[in-house]
């Protein structure tokens, strides 16, 4: 199992078996025009389920990595974030591996 930033993380596979991602983590990116606005950042994070935690906050890309509470349907959270007007994209935390 991968260890990400010290946290043990469960991995899942899609039906196609090719898009491994960490369970209960999502990546969200703000639109370029909103990246530096703390009020927008807070508003986007409010769209997350209660008890969610920020693993790494919005960086120079406007990207944040968020931990979701166990049992959360990640795809539903991604869909909700994508509907936010300030969000460029949201996606599961997809895994890579060495070749």
């Amino acid at each position: 199992m991968p260890i990400f930033r010290g946290h043990p993380v469960r991995t899942t596979r899609t039906a196609a078996g090719s898009r491994r991602h960490t369970a209960h983590q999502v990546v969200v990116k703000l639109k370029a025009s909103e990246t530096q606005r703390p009020d927008v950042q807070r508003d986007v994070l409010r769209a997350l389920p209660r008890s969610s935690t920020v693993e790494s906050g919005f960086d120079r890309f406007g990207i944040a990595l968020v931990n979701l509470p166990p049992g959360t349907d990640t795809s539903k959270v991604v869909d909700r974030l994508r509907r936010h007007v300030a969000v460029e994209y949201a996606e599961p935390h997809l895994l890579d591996s060495g070749s």
Binding site: F4, R5, S18, V27, F61, E91, D96, S97, G98, S99
Partner: protein
């Protein structure tokens, strides 16, 4: 003798004379308890310079100021500070090994060693004992790689984003990967400053690209310049879109702060991701080249970020071939394939302590691995050499030159791309 490069940086040129055997080497002296290597300055020009290696990068400014106070100028490195803690001190006033190192007085807490700018005498063929087992080097015509002059100031940086490098107790621990040019960067997996390799993959990749060369030990790497190592894979060789993105950002920061050209080696991959694409575009905006393994799953499409080679000009997707220049039992395919390089039975370094790969039957220190991961560092080393020779080229020009000088391989272009890299042709044309 040292000669100014096109960028005005003094470089060490290899000559055709073989290095004197160790038994006849000048007797080392000591300076404040630290070794000073006295060099025989055969035919040395009046422009002789002295070098100083500084233990801690952030302290290098003190050395710069101290030199200035003594009428000397530290000229190497970008952004006003020496890169890698290595400065080139101009002979103004005359300064050489015979004159001592008096200007360093009061800096003994910073200075690790001093030496004249070394002239690297060699035969063109390194003396590393495992060289004869590195079959891949002959197959990519690597003989010219070691004749490329490498600026000592590190204006080209190769960043290896992988599982880290051999470190114990915070220090480089592998004898074939122990030199100030190996820079231990962040561990972005565990979010600390200890990128010790706990899997072994990163050490293997690093050794192929840049193991110490002509040091009478182990294997020979191709790239003799600066290497920044960032840990983006954990002990199970898993990374993510975010660790890749963070690694790219850190590498870009490092190179940009030093006005250096940046080649990123990423021997990993996975699914398409907005986050990875954003990172690659960020690298492109900053002029960096990303050399990526195409992936090992035979019958599958090329993984990402390698597959971005189809849409972004700063990405090279690297596939693998075996000793017969045939397709091995592994390997993805797709129209984004740029070039191939040897990727089977590749001998390189492994950590000198127990890691994940040892549980899979691999030896410590040195062993063989297969994969597009092993092909990729041969290409990233070539890219680094080319940027050394052609500092004005763009990332796209480096990519196109590597592809256009490759040896064509008959067969499926989705498998072999533009062919197998030819280092001698690429470097000499």
């Amino acid at each position: 003798m040292p000669t100014p490069s096109r960028t005005g940086v003094t470089v060490a040129r290899r000559t055709t004379a073989r290095r004197a055997p160790a038994s006849s080497a000048p007797r080392p002296e000591t300076f404040q308890g630290r070794p000073i290597v006295r060099i025989h300055w055969k035919g040395q020009a009046a422009t002789a310079v002295g070098g100083v290696n500084v233990c801690r990068l952030r302290e290098s400014e003190r050395v710069v100021r101290a030199a200035a106070e003594r009428g000397l100028q530290v000229t190497a490195g970008g952004a006003g500070q020496p890169l890698l803690g290595i400065g080139i001190v101009e002979e103004r006033p005359a300064f050489g090994p015979e004159r001592g190192s008096g200007w360093l007085a009061g800096l003994d807490d910073l200075v690790m060693w001093t030496e004249p700018l070394l002239l690297d005498h060699g035969s063109g063929v390194p003396n590393d004992p495992y060289l004869s087992q590195q079959w891949a080097l002959e197959d990519v015509s690597a003989e010219s790689a070691w004749d490329v002059m490498v600026p000592v100031d590190g204006r080209v940086v190769l960043a290896v984003l992988d599982s880290g490098l051999p470190m114990q107790s915070g220090k480089l621990s592998h004898a074939d990967l122990d030199d100030p040019r190996y820079i231990a960067g962040r561990d972005v997996v565990n979010n600390d400053d200890d990128p010790a390799d706990d899997h072994g993959h990163g050490t293997h990749v690093l050794g192929i690209a840049a193991a110490q060369c002509d040091n009478a030990l182990g294997v020979a790497g191709l790239w003799r310049g600066a290497v920044l190592v960032l840990k983006v894979f954990d002990s199970a060789l898993n990374g993510s879109s975010v660790t890749f993105k963070d690694g790219v950002a850190l590498a870009v920061d490092f190179a940009r702060a030093r006005d250096a050209r940046l080649v990123i080696n990423y021997s990993g991959g996975g699914p398409d991701s907005n986050t990875k694409k954003a990172a690659v575009e960020y690298a492109q905006q900053n002029g960096a080249l990303i050399v990526v393994a195409a992936g090992n799953r035979r019958g599958w499409d090329i993984e990402f970020p390698a597959a971005y080679a189809g849409m972004l000009p700063n990405v090279i997707a690297v596939g693998a071939v075996d000793r017969g220049r045939r397709r091995p039992a592994f390997g993805t395919e797709g129209p984004q394939m740029t070039v191939v390089a040897p990727g089977t039975d590749i001998l390189s370094t492994l950590p000198n302590y127990f890691v994940t790969l040892n549980r899979e039957g691999k030896q410590t220190k040195y062993d063989r691995l297969d994969g597009t991961s092993q092909a990729t560092p041969l290409v990233s080393a070539l890219a680094s050499l080319l940027w050394t020779k052609h500092p004005d080229w763009t990332a796209a020009q480096i990519r196109d030159h590597i592809s256009s000088t490759a040896d064509r391989i008959d067969g499926n272009r989705d498998v072999f791309g533009g062919g197998i890299i030819n280092i001698t042709r690429a470097v000499q044309l």
